[in-house]
Symmetry: C2
Subunit: 190 residues, 2 copies
């Protein structure tokens, strides 16, 4: 299927999720807003769960790269701030929030979300690779754990405890992750 | 309304959430399983969102206290392990997971979830208070941030990135939070 059709379907899924959330999204909505016939959507993607997985798959195709400020401290702070920023405006937050919500109701959406975040966090690990190259961190560091730790307190408050997040919290998360990294707490056991 | 009725309603809501999740729970189900008439449920709680908030409110009424192992390190590790354990068995995980999911679809559920976790984490802060009393931590420490940081990497993987969690990850989360605490990264600015 040509790229423009896939992009139209993805855009319709994301717009639908933003406007109605996962329980409110229908194949009819995607057909209407993508201009792709409903029977084609069912044949190609099987239904709503397949459309959602497709949209998440395409969402991961962007050119995003991890911040590169020249220091591990700056990069960790920038990563944390990006999480705060990306969920600060309701318009920006709607689609990613709907994907996270959909994973509670659909195993296939959960699989797609896992694939999306695995790939996204592997891009984040560039900040650790560069820190190791600069001599700011040891090669023994568990970079996957570090990049997750710096954002985890923000995701916890956004989606579990439902508490506010702000730049001060992003700074604190970065400082905590950095201090632990410097103390060797992320190093893999020998 | 007497305590036994409230408890029956709470049990029915939790059983229903465990079996059907939030989108599948109905007032009819709660009426049938609690033995409380549907019109009474509507009159008293307004509907499904109110019943959910009531169940969360009562869920917070338990006698749970934070672990007290004698050291900050032991307590943080025990806290992290409790999160892993409580979501390890599908039967135990179903109701808390359904509450977290419901908060995506209902502002009232989100408010109730925030109240539940705020109170739960304030009980966790006892581990920090005791650590300060033992001289293991300074009074300047942001104990609310510390108890959230130790569990955040687990919640991130359980509900956002949908990755597995295990005791090794709990130990790492505790070691990271402890190292950051010892380095003063949780201390409030002067």
């Amino acid at each position: 299927m040509e790229q423009t059709t896939r992009a139209a379907v993805r855009d319709a899924v994301i717009t639908g999720l933003s406007e109605h959330g996962y329980p409110g999204l229908t194949v009819e909505y995607v057909a209407e807003h993508s201009g792709v016939h409903k029977t084609t959507l069912y044949r190609r993607w099987g239904g709503l769960e397949g459309l959602l997985a497709e949209a998440l798959d395409l969402a991961g195709d962007d050119a995003w790269t991890a911040p590169d400020t020249g220091s591990l401290e700056g990069d960790l702070r920038a990563l944390a701030l990006e999480v705060v920023d990306s969920f600060a405006r309701p318009d920006d937050a709607a689609a990613p929030t709907a994907f996270i919500a959909a994973a509670f109701q659909s195993e296939r959406a959960a699989d797609a979300l896992r694939a999306f975040y695995t790939e996204r966090f592997s891009r984040c690990e560039a900040v650790v690779t560069r820190a190791v190259a600069r001599g700011e961190a040891t090669a023994a560091i568990d970079s996957a754990a570090l990049v997750r730790a710096v954002t985890a307190p923000l995701f916890l408050r956004l989606f579990i405890t439902r508490e506010p997040v702000d730049t001060a919290l992003a700074d604190q998360s970065a400082a905590v992750a950095l201090a632990a990294a410097r103390a060797g707490a992320f190093n893999r056991p020998d």
